[in-house]
């Protein structure tokens, strides 16, 4: 490999995440156009003792994207590079935004098995943080990863082999810098999206059954009225024609990439915890009670209740257990700390695991007992990056500090 002498680009500008709650100023700002440039960035950084941090599209609101050293955007490495519609896979650039990827895959007859409510993140950011949609039988987006390529800590390009897949699926850029991801996909498919308005009392007793019947189901609860919006997605001709006590307010059919996500303009900060599915209802009801008693004065945003199927990625928030996720939201112009911190204590009592890309207050000491494969992830991470090139101070606090 030919390493160019002037690889790193000095930066003086502040960077802010999507919500604006996280501001940092990296010394170098990079956007490689190919693997040679990406490898050169890592090589130079390692040689100079600098940390390398992929930033995705800055959508995360936890400090996993922040660095004082080298921030790397993969925005120039995007698109579908290779695909096989019969074998149902595609190799995509790490910096491909999910919305663009959805359109491109649809054009060649492929689709992801699910998407989150927002689809502006890069595919590598979504995979690396266990971003997910909602569906009792649907795993998070990290589980799509079956291969690809990455830049190692010493600046070499290597395949993401099956030996590291369980760690790579939720690795937050700490194993290496991913440049291309090989994804397991589905033939493209159509869905009918329906939105229903009801109240918590009317729907909560039906939720378990609905979650088994619907391909996708999530629930928004509105703390200042106790009202609820249910969203269901099913193949056309299937799913719920009616839900007891609920009024159908929206119906739309389209390709999965068109109807799974919605455009979000209003910005917010968010905390999300994943709890075992059997604990979901009780945990939610306790959260609801606490919000109504203590936080309604300042909190008008809804609480989101979703389902994610279990998987085996070492640091997946659904590792080894079918899961319910509960998300708190607050306008990004309003304080969130007291609200999030208070409710976080409830999540933890139910064995909650925080979303890697959203607000939380946990470090390695609290996280390690939540993940049965924690030690194996750490062993592999240290083996791949012994000098900690991909380990900023925050990531070290998150993953490395011993209890």
């Amino acid at each position: 490999m030919n390493i160019r002498p002037e690889t790193l680009h000095p930066n003086r500008a502040e960077m802010a995440n999507w919500s604006g709650s996280l501001v940092f100023r990296p010394r170098f700002l990079e956007a490689p156009r190919n693997e040679d440039e990406a490898a050169a960035i890592v090589h130079q950084a390692a040689r100079r003792g600098l940390k390398v941090r992929p930033t995705g599209r800055l959508h995360s609101s936890s400090p996993i994207i922040a660095t004082d050293d080298v921030a790397v955007s993969m925005r120039n490495m995007k698109g579908v590079f290779e695909h096989d519609t019969e074998e149902r896979w595609a190799l995509v650039g790490a910096g491909t935004p999910l919305d663009e990827m959805g359109r491109d895959l649809n054009d060649i007859g492929l689709a992801t098995h699910n998407l989150g409510d927002i689809n502006v993140q890069t595919v590598v950011g979504a995979v690396s943080t266990c971003t997910h949609g909602s569906g009792r039988r649907l795993t998070n987006l990290a589980t799509m990863l079956i291969g690809g390529r990455m830049i190692t800590a010493d600046g070499d390009v290597r395949d993401i082999g099956s030996d590291i897949i369980p760690a790579a699926r939720a690795s937050m850029g700490t194993l290496g810098m991913f440049t291309a991801l090989k994804l397991r996909l589905l033939p493209r498919y159509r869905l009918r999206r329906r939105e229903w308005c009801t109240t918590l009392d009317a729907c909560f007793g039906q939720l378990e059954e609905l979650s088994c019947r619907c391909r996708n189901l999530d629930m928004y609860w509105y703390p200042r009225s106790d009202r609820v919006k249910l969203r269901t997605l099913d193949p056309p001709g299937e799913g719920q024609e009616r839900i007891g006590g609920a009024k159908l307010v929206l119906e739309r059919e389209g390709w999965s990439s068109e109807v799974l996500s919605r455009k979000r303009v209003l910005r917010f900060d968010e905390m999300e915890y994943a709890v075992p599915i059997e604990a979901g209802p009780e945990c939610f009801l306790e959260v609801r009670k606490r919000i109504m008693e203590r936080h309604r004065r300042a909190v008008g945003w809804r609480v989101l209740y979703r389902y994610v199927a279990a998987d085996d990625a070492y640091l997946s928030t659904a590792h080894g257990r079918d899961t319910v996720t509960i998300s708190l939201h607050q306008n990004n112009t309003l304080p969130y700390g007291e609200y999030f911190d208070d409710i976080e204590r409830i999540f933890l009592r139910y064995g909650g695991r925080p979303h890697w890309g959203k607000k939380h207050n946990l470090g390695a000491e609290e996280l390690e007992p939540l993940y049965p494969q924690w030690a194996e992830f750490r062993r592999l991470r240290r083996k791949l990056d012994p000098e900690g090139v991909f380990l900023t101070d925050y990531m070290s606090t998150l993953l490395e500090e011993e209890g």
């Binding site: 109240t199 009392d201 009225s225 209003l266 004065r297 300042a298 008008g300």
Partner: protein, 122 residues
């Protein structure tokens, strides 16, 4: 023919912080009743004024031609959720003449309804 005004004010807003009884029917709230009798859709901006900070808005609302719409101020989050239990005032600006009524339900002790026409400013 269109009736009403394009600008309206409600100086005496205050969403009661507490609620008693089953919700949502017994949630305390402040509400604006917006009546558009004209043949054009109304694009409405709501601004909220406070004692100790700059006005917050616009909260965008659409009311179709020859339709009425009731908007609970508690529920608005765009651009941000309003705090409950404090004094505030409301300014309503509309692209076409409309009529505006203010409505409060207070269930903090029993159930009390108060209502008044907003004040036309133009």
């Amino acid at each position: 023919m269109t009736e009403g005004s394009r600008t309206w004010a409600v100086p005496g807003g205050r969403v009661p912080e507490g609620s008693t009884g089953a919700e949502p029917e017994n949630t305390s709230y402040d509400m604006l009743c917006l009546l558009n009798t004209g043949r054009e859709d109304a694009s409405i901006s709501i601004w909220l004024y406070y004692e100790d900070k700059l006005p917050v808005g616009p909260y965008p609302i659409e009311v179709k031609a020859e339709r009425v719409r009731h908007v609970r101020l508690n529920d608005l989050i765009d651009p941000e959720a309003m705090p409950l239990g404090i004094e505030y005032g409301i300014l309503v600006r509309s692209s076409v003449p409309i009529a505006v009524q203010y409505w409060r339900q207070d269930t903090s002790r029993g159930k009390a309804i108060a209502t008044a026409m907003a004040m036309p400013l133009d």
